[in-house]
């Protein structure tokens, strides 16, 4: 169980690090939001499952599952609000130069 939780947490960390690198490397708000959604969905999921397994059965596991459910409902809304605000304020998405 301990080893399984370590595997989950390390896999979650991998996605969090990739997302951080993505935020630095990608060119504009729209594409950076994709990197952030990588953290939201898979990174947070793997980390929380790892923590839940580490804690073992009990109320803490249930609380973590509640957090996970709320995260999956709320995070897309926040990402959508950010991207929509960027689009409505007239920001043009970055395009690859064809030269």
């Amino acid at each position: 169980m301990e080893i399984l939780s370590i595997i989950f947490i390390v896999a979650g960390l991998f996605f969090l690090i990739v997302a951080a690198i993505g935020v630095i490397r990608l060119p504009d708000v729209f594409s950076r939001s994709h990197a952030v959604s990588l953290t939201d969905s898979l990174g947070a999921f793997l980390m929380l499952v790892g923590i839940a397994l580490h804690g073992g059965l009990g109320t803490n596991m249930l609380k973590i599952l509640v957090v996970l459910a709320l995260l999956y409902i709320i995070n897309p809304v926040i990402t959508h609000a950010t991207v929509r605000a960027a689009l409505r304020s007239g920001l043009k998405p970055w395009k690859k130069e064809t030269s």
């Binding site: 996605f15 990739v18 997302a19 690198i21 993505g22 490397r25 990608l26 504009d28 729209f30 594409s31 939001s33 994709h34 990197a35 959604s37 990588l38 939201d40 969905s41 898979l42 109320t59 249930l62 609380k63 509640v66 999956y72 409902i73 995070n75 897309p76 809304v77 990402t79 959508h80 991207v83 929509r84 960027a86 689009l87 409505r88 998405p93 970055w94 395009k95 690859k96």
Partner: protein, 168 residues
Amino acid sequence: MAIRSRPISPKFLFLKAMVLFMFWVLLSASFEWIHLSLGLVFSFAVAWGNAGHSSFVPKFRLWSRILLYFPWLFYKIVQSSLHLSKLILHPALPIAPQLISVESKLNHHAAIVLLGNSITLTPGTVTAEVDRNKLIVHALDQPLSEGIKNKQIESKIAEIFKDQEPDL
């Protein structure tokens, strides 16, 4: 005072309060009488305050289909997460961001919400604008935008909502 659209049914009020109370016990995880009685008082207060807002229509078939949809969505999330990680870690950064506009055939508010939420939850695609059943989606590269255009998610959601009354 809030305007109540329909009379409060005591049975429904009690049911709502019990669900809230269960949630309270789950989160507080303590069985001392002071915590339990406080929780009971507050769950009835909250249930009373929200009593007039919606009617209770159980839709167990719909909810069970939505629950069955989540594992499939999770599989898609894993798939596109791996694709996106490969893109970000690639030395040449081979991205081709694009805005695409998609018109869906879904005719429920809840179905559109579920579609937009699924698209945003899948890494690499973000719903940027929703207007009735037209969505503007920002995708990070060609394969990801193809995945939106071939309407795989939409047909799954249409399958879930197939026997519901349209309300859009």
